[in-house]
Amino acid sequence: MQRIGVFVCWCGSNIAATVDVEKVSQVLAQEPGVVFSTNYQYMCSQAGQEMIQQSIKEYGLTGVVVCSCSPRMHETTFRKTCEKAGINPHMVEIANIREQCSWIHKDKEVGTEKAIILGRAAIAKVHLNTPLTAGTSPVVKRALVIGGGIAGIQTALDIADAGFEVDIVEKQPTIGGKMTQIDKTFPTLDCAACILTPKMVDAAQNEKIHIYSYSEVESVKGFVGNFNVTIKKKARYVDEVKCTGCGLCTEKCPQKKVPNLFNLGLDNRRAIYIPFAQAVPKVATIDADYCTMLKSGKCGVCSKVCTAGAINYQQKDEFFEQQYGAIVVATGFNPIKLDKYDEFAYSQSPDVVTSLEFERLMNAAGPTGGTLLRPSDGEHPHTIVFVQCVGSRCDDEKGKPYCSKICCMYTAKHAMLCREKYPDTDVYVFYIDVRTPGKNFDEFYRRAVEEYGVHYIKGMVGKVVPQDGKLKVQASDLLGNRQLHIDADMVVLAAAIEPDETARPLATKLTASMDTNDFFTEAHPKLRPVESPTAGIFLSGACQGPKDIPETVAQASAAAAKVIGLLCKDNLTCNPCTAEPNELMCNGCSSCEKVCPYGAITYVDKEFRGPNRTTLIRRVAQVNPAVCQGCGACTVACPSGAMDLKGFSNQQIMAEVDAICR
């Protein structure tokens, strides 16, 4: 028989207001096995904890029930308290009488009665608790960063700085991500490439960082501290080691009509290409969709001109397996497709562009060499209309329900740069709200209005009609209470941003949860913003929600710090609540093995004593406690009930059921 102590917490008035704590402790004192029962204002306080420890010694308690807040809150606290007083931490059970009782009930009588029942259930469980000891599992001292944009690069650099190996997997031929396409950054207006490319080079030269470019994550197995990841390195038909990045092939390739995705299709590139001059790794890639050699076997020009002999048309996708202790997701974002919003005539006129396209049109390395020219006729635009919130802040069926966060600022930047470079242009910005929370952000926006004379109009564009070389913009001016008709030369759409389309399948591989918009969810929205609820998975950058560059970098470093904290440990304490088979009852039928998500169950042939001094070989299950995470799937799959779960055994759960239904 256990000697159980019951400790009822008031949680100030949080519990005591709707639960008669005195009565609870009195009634529970009558339960079998309860040798001591009391209540106290704040059980989690120093004094409360000391009271528990003292009672353990004084009454020789073997089990403890704390009636308090959720076990998710203080189970660990009270377990440690009791451990210090000399009893096994798993001899402690929490009855959740705050979140699941006092906070949801108003009637004190009802609350008290329920609290007593919850207390009884916990007592019934403790009677069957057994001391458990946690095993440990080793931590692989290597991290994987998925996505090589600014978020991924920053995370990798920080982890590498702490002395750990990091691999970056990037699906594009080069790292750098969206930031490589951006011209200037707000609110400082410094050149994006100038601050990004040195970081790319740092990453490439860092001995601890290995970049898998043009690669994807194929599959993920394992768990925190010991992930087993298969990486697919897509065939780029160029030997990365031999290629010097001289670029000769990209000049000689006869296939000239390939839309240049780096410039968002605003100009063309060759079938063999290096995305841009500062690409890392600076290695050519053959676009298999366009290469005549790969499609028809005729051509081979690049191979002929390559002095390094790096071209290899026979290259196949390669697969690598690698062990990691932690994984960081940094898959970033993309602007949404605009086919649902063709009232803006995006599909009808080349002069209606997205902000990211506009970014390329302003960029010195872009298709126009940095001179702002209309894509349709190469003329200078004189009237430019910016439209905010295209597809953001929508009803679910109309678009994205969230604010894309970065558009107000980059539009102010675009408007300002236009007016600065070309003072003869009229710039209109149609906005619903201008959202500028951030250091120096509102000042920046005000400058666009006050110093640069950008026309900010509260209202929305309703229709864009391309006609006679102009874009006839019909819009509302809500403050002026009029409908405006502007003959514009260009219309720039601030398209909503959404998570990269690879994020959803990746989340499934990682078993990391996502919200309805496909952004990764955090373990806690406020207190654990860079961790996924899945242990060992961390979040960096816009994959978690819309973010600008400084925020992304901050989160990237935060994620790195979390990873470093994990990799510093040699071992992780395992979950002691693991499955355990009773060999005498095991049929060896493999049902449990089939439902185990971790492959923790194996089988051995074991010799048993049969009747009449005979021996019998039987196949029985064995659980690897370092691998078992304690879900319990196997316990239900087992028909004979040979498999049970420590800490949540059949008997324990049934005792709770009995106590509740009594």
Binding site: E343, C389, R393, D395, G459, G462, S476
Partner: protein, 123 residues
């Protein structure tokens, strides 16, 4: 009355984020003294009387541009129709009288124009 309009239109004016896209899309904007976005706001703030006396309710083309383009699915056209319905259902508030029709006709005018005018403007 406001509740009546909300109920028969099925529109929740509180969903409006006041972006003005309805008024930006409206082809009849200049023919109305209250514009679609104001409509939504006036229903929400209970200024129905003014709306019901407004000529604008008869100039709405029911072209559904505002319905289609509203980012919040507020659907102002339904509100306008509901207000118009509320008006023409009253005694003697019929907007179009049969006597007035012959003068408006021409040889080519399709039947549907007349039928629909009756449906829209009479009880």
């Amino acid at each position: 009355m406001v509740d009546f309009v909300k109920r028969i239109s099925g529109v929740n004016p509180r969903k409006c984020m006041k972006c003005g896209k309805c008024s930006a899309s409206c082809p009849a904007y200049d023919e109305m003294e209250y514009h679609p976005h104001q409509f939504v706001d006036m229903v929400e703030t209970g200024r129905l009387e003014e709306l019901m006396n407004s000529k604008g309710i008869y100039t709405c083309l029911s072209c559904f541009a505002c319905v289609e383009r509203c980012p919040r699915s507020v659907e102002p056209a339904k509100l306008i129709e509901a207000v118009r319905t509320a008006v023409v259902r009253q005694q003697d508030k019929t907007h179009l009288k049969p006597d007035a029709i012959p003068a408006l006709l021409d040889d080519e005018l399709p039947q549907q124009a007349i039928t629909s005018a009756f449906r829209k403007y009479r009880k």
